[in-house]
């Protein structure tokens, strides 16, 4: 629906009301004219009635005058002795008061009808009357009448007395009809002067008989005319008043409503969200509008405040969306946006991407819990941030991966920054989080070469990742800068290894499990073999260092465990190990709580009930899902499977959990075993004491990483009842299997 302007509406309203007033005025005028016509018709009728009554009165008056004249003694006197007739007629009659003032002429006639004496010409009395038996009237109108006025002649016989049969004579008198009529009464309706009788001589018995023959006009009704005039004038005044009032109302509406509303709208438009702009105008002339303006102002203020809040929230959200809530570092999205922005700004400048990764963070997280892990990553991030240049931002990509890029820096500068970061993290006191050992990080650097066709962020990340993998390799530098060879090898290895891992998980027979014996001390008798995952693909053997990063990155731990159990079953089915030779299988934390893995182990136990079966788990499996893991381990132990706690003392294990762990064997980590070779007796005593304590608690203790005889001696001295290491045999494929595979 089309919106109208108030001014148009008001003008339309004024026009409509004005039109209605005009129509009403026209209608009232029409009614007034109708009333006027009705009144005039009534007045004409009243005038005719009035004239009829006046004629009747005049008739009676004339009759009375005629009778008085006829019965007047002096009339008879003149009829019998007319010597002084003229004197009598001209003086005595008017003076005697016998006749009214309207009688203009009198004449006497003898018994034969002859006038006693010719009257003066102006008298207009006839010379002779005849045939008059009684009172009679003759009316002469038109041109025959005196001065054009209708004249009434009245004649009647004069008798000596009532008994007389022959008249003594006749009397006659004349009146001006209209004048006499006018004197009969005060006429309210009839206009006597406008009476027209027509032409000629008329004889009537009574004057009122003339009334119906008269052409009448009603007297102008000044009251009616005044009423009409007043009504029209007042109607005009009313119309002018209505138009004036409406115009005034329209003006006031425009002045006090439209203009203020437009002012409010203008203020709102001009304010552009700034409420203080309302102060530019004075107060509104209408309280309600002032209230509206204040309300709008308040609303606008609130709206502006809300906008600011929203902007802040938006900025906060934007910041939050770009920030990692745990460390306060920027996130991947921020990295991508900043990278794009800086690239657009200074694409020609050199740039180095530095990728940080916390070593063994997963183990820390698994061992000490996420709270500690979070504290560690926060501390690492804070330490790194302190070492960056001003303006350089630290981004957390996820987990323990942190990254920054140094725009305008070369590899040398970046290397220095990386070393400073490494040092800063190494010096941080992580004991405050409950960590007994320092936390280290690995750093991968990728230098962007503007000359290269692809210096995108993803490429740089990939390069830094490859460098990071290199840094993570045991015994290598903790800071590695990417080069193209690394990329070529890594890309080949990575893609090959990934395919191999997925294929092996899908087909466990593809695993080439290597077995390393665990010997019983001190006899050095092979007690059982630890199955270690290897995948041979296209002649290349992928080790756990290749396999586990892929598995962990893709959360394939349980699947890998299940595949390895199946692969062990296949090997045992193929009699890779001699009958009676036990086998130990590493199961991840995810695998021990996985029902399929447990079922597979139980099935293997059922099939290989004559062998020693050992499941090696880390503390993590017991700590993260203790109940499920414990239940599964209980089931396994009930089935005759031994449970070994692997990597005990690798830096993250805790003795306080050992008592509650459903394990049979504790495998001391290489780091613990190497303490036995430490010059310090204190260091050696720790391992020895723990081993003695664990053994005394009823656990079998296994020493890992025994590579020399001297170390073996120390191990035996320390009371270990089993040992494992290159001294006895490296992990390898048993010959029998190799022979079978070679044979076909």
């Amino acid at each position: 629906m089309r919106a109208f302007k108030i001014s148009h509406l008001s003008q339309g309203f004024v026009a409509m009301v004005g039109g209605l007033a005009l129509v009403l005025g026209a209608y009232m005028l029409h009614e007034l004219e109708g009333i006027t016509r009705a009144v005039q018709e009534r007045e004409r009728q009243a005038a005719r009635d009035e004239i009829r009554a006046a004629m009747s009165d005049l008739n009676a008056q004339v009759l009375a005058m005629g009778e008085r004249l006829a019965n007047w003694d002096e009339t008879r006197q003149q009829l019998v002795h007319d010597v002084y007739y003229v004197l009598w007629r001209d003086e005595r009659v008017p003076d005697a008061g016998v006749l009214g003032a309207d009688v203009e002429a009198v004449a006497l006639y003898d018994a034969e009808g002859g006038i006693l004496m010719s009257p003066p010409e102006r008298a207009l009395m006839p010379e002779r009357v005849a045939g008059i038996q009684g009172p009679s009237f003759v009316v002469i109108a038109g041109e025959d009448a005196a001065a054009g006025h209708a004249q009434v002649f009245h004649f009647r016989p004069v008798y000596i007395d009532a008994a007389a049969e022959t008249p003594l004579g006749y009397v006659g008198l004349r009146l001006d009809l209209l004048s006499a009529l006018e004197h009969t009464r005060r006429f309210r309706f009839a206009d006597v002067n406008a009476i027209h009788l027509g032409e000629g001589r008329t004889e009537v018995a009574a004057l009122q008989d003339l009334a119906d023959r008269l052409e009448l006009e009603s007297r102008p009704n000044p009251l009616l005319d005044l009423v009409r005039e007043v009504f029209k004038r007042e109607l005009l005044h009313l119309l002018i008043f209505v138009v004036a009032v409406l115009s005034l109302a329209s003006f006031l509406l425009h002045r006090f409503m439209v203009r203020p509303l437009l002012a409010i709208a203008r203020e709102i438009d001009d304010s552009q969200g700034e409420p203080q702009a309302f102060a530019n105008e004075g107060p509104m002339p209408v309280q309600e509008l002032e209230q509206v303006r204040r309300s709008v102002g308040n609303y606008q203020s609130r709206l502006a405040e809300l906008n600011r809040t929203l902007e802040r929230s938006s900025r906060d959200f934007y910041e939050q969306s770009r920030r990692d809530s745990l460390t306060g570092a920027f996130n991947r999205r921020a990295l991508e946006e900043d990278w794009t922005a800086s690239e657009a700004k200074s694409a020609e400048a050199p740039c180095v991407l530095i990728l940080f990764d916390c070593d063994h963070f997963k183990a820390i997280n698994d061992t000490y819990g996420h709270a500690v892990g979070d504290a560690v990553i926060k501390a690492v991030a804070a330490s790194l941030q302190e070492c960056l240049r001003a303006g350089d931002r630290l981004y957390r990509l996820g987990g323990d991966e942190l990254v920054t890029y140094l725009r305008g820096a070369d590899a040398r500068v970046a290397w220095a920054v990386a070393e400073r970061c490494l040092e800063q993290v190494a010096q941080h006191d992580f004991k405050q989080y409950g960590l007994p050992e320092p936390v280290s990080i690995s750093i991968g650097l990728a230098v962007a070469d503007p000359a290269l066709p692809d210096c995108s962020l993803s490429t740089m990340q990939k390069h830094a990742d490859l460098a990071m993998y290199a840094a993570k390799r045991p015994g290598g530098q903790r800071i590695v800068c990417y080069d193209d060879k690394m990329a070529e090898a890594a890309s080949l290895v990575a893609s090959h290894c990934i395919n191999a891992v997925f294929e092996a998980i899908a087909s466990p027979s593809l695993f080439e499990l290597h077995y390393q014996p665990v010997v019983q001390l001190p006899e050095r008798r092979y007690d059982y073999f630890e199955a270690l995952a290897r995948i041979r693909s296209d002649g290349r053997l992928f080790t756990p260092a290749d396999i586990f990063p892929i598995v962990q990155a893709r959360r394939l731990d349980a699947e890998l465990d299940l595949a390895i159990v199946q692969a062990v079953a296949i090997d045992l089915q193929r009699v890779v190990l001699e009958p009676g030779q036990g086998v130990s299988i590493n199961v991840s934390a995810a695998g021990i709580v996985h029902a399929k893995v447990v079922s597979a182990l139980l099935e293997l136990r059922r099939r290989e009930h004559g062998r020693t079966l050992v499941v090696e788990i880390t503390e993590t499996a017991l700590i993260t899902q203790m109940e499920t893991a414990s239940e599964h381990l209980r089931q396994l132990r009930q089935a005759g499977i031994l449970v070994a706690l692997d990597d005990f003392g690798s830096g993250y294990s805790s003795l306080r959990y050992l008592a509650s762990m459903p394990v049979d064997i504790v495998k001391f980590d290489l780091s613990m075993i190497r303490l036995l070779e430490h010059p310090s007796a204190q260091h050696r005593g720790i391992t020895q004491g723990i081993a003695a304590m664990v053994r005394s608690a009823g656990y079998h203790v296994v020493a890992e990483g025994v590579e020399t005889e001297a170390m073996l001696s120390r191990v035996i001295e320390s009371g270990f009842d089993h040992a494992q290491g290159f001294l006895f045999d490296a992990p390898r494929r048993p010959r029998r299997i190799e022979a079978q595979r070679a044979g076909g």
Binding site: L79, V80, L87, R92
Partner: protein, 281 residues
């Protein structure tokens, strides 16, 4: 009271009223000049009374009418004519402003005609009763026409006839009138006469009345052979200052009603009636 008695009483009252009101009789007192009179037949044994009104009046004038009614009640035959004054069947008092052409002789002829009318009706004794100038008219009539059947004149409120003019003025007026008449003119003259101020009359008419001066009236009273009784009111303002004294000096019977005015109005109408009845034979 029974219906019969009421009916009889009503009939008697109607008859008495008719008798009191009398009947209008007409008489052509001159050629072509009929005149009217009220006439009631009374006791035949009593003289008929001819009662004449004052100047320009009719027999309907109240003093004459009431006195006539009283005398009728007394059983007298009463004839109350209206002098025509030259007007046929005159019924109204004639205005002073009217054209007066009548003379005293005309009045004498009409009185004579009515006396004859009475005689013709068998009334051998007629008593003339006049009021005001009617008394002077009857006196002058008797002075000129003494003899049967008039046996007595009762003159009520007889005026001196001087008409408020002194003697010299009166004589100059008469001389003037006579001179005009002698010259063959009979003009209309407006002159004060009696209560008319003025009276418009012909010279002959006016002269016929003004000739009857107080002296002539006193002489006529003194000389008239017929029995005459004068009845006057002691408070009659129209008589003249010495008129009552002059009348007494004549020695004719004079009955003065103390307190009565010229018209014997009010309570004096009964006194007048009694005096007139007493004066009648």
């Amino acid at each position: 009271m029974g219906w019969e008695r009421i009916a009889l009483l009503g009939a008697a009252l109607l008859l008495a009223a008719q008798r009191a009101a009398g009947a209008i009789v007409t008489l052509e007192v001159a050629e072509g000049l009929p005149a009217r009179a009220d006439y009631v037949e009374g006791d035949p044994g009593k003289p008929a009374l001819l009662m004449l009104h004052g100047f320009l009046q009719t027999h309907e004038f109240r003093t004459i009418r009431r006195l006539a009614e009283g005398l009728r009640d007394e059983g007298y035959t009463v004839l109350s004519p209206t002098l025509s004054l030259g007007i046929p069947m005159r019924k109204q008092s004639l205005a002073c402003e009217a054209i007066h052409t009548h003379t005293l002789d005309d009045a004498h002829r009409e009185i004579g005609a009515w006396v004859s009318w009475l005689r013709a009706r068998g009334h051998q004794s007629v008593v003339l009763v006049g009021h005001s100038s009617g008394s002077m008219v009857l006196l002058s009539y008797l002075y000129a026409h003494a003899g049967s059947p008039v046996i007595k004149l009762v003159a009520i409120s007889l005026m001196e006839g001087r008409w408020e003019l002194d003697r010299a003025e009166h004589e100059r007026l008469q001389a003037s009138l006579r001179a005009q008449i002698a010259a063959g003119d009979n003009p209309l003259i407006s002159h004060d006469f009696s209560f008319c101020k003025p009276l418009r009359a012909t010279a002959r008419s006016l002269l016929s009345y003004v000739e009857w001066t107080p002296d002539r009236i006193l002489n006529a009273i003194d000389r008239v052979p017929t029995e005459l009784v004068l009845i006057l009111g002691s408070r009659d303002k129209r008589l003249g200052p010495d008129w009552l004294r002059d009348l007494r000096e004549i020695g004719r019977p004079l009955d003065v009603i103390e307190g009565a005015n010229h018209f014997m109005d009010g309570e004096f109408e009964f006194e007048l009636l009694d005096r007139v009845v007493n004066a009648l034979p």
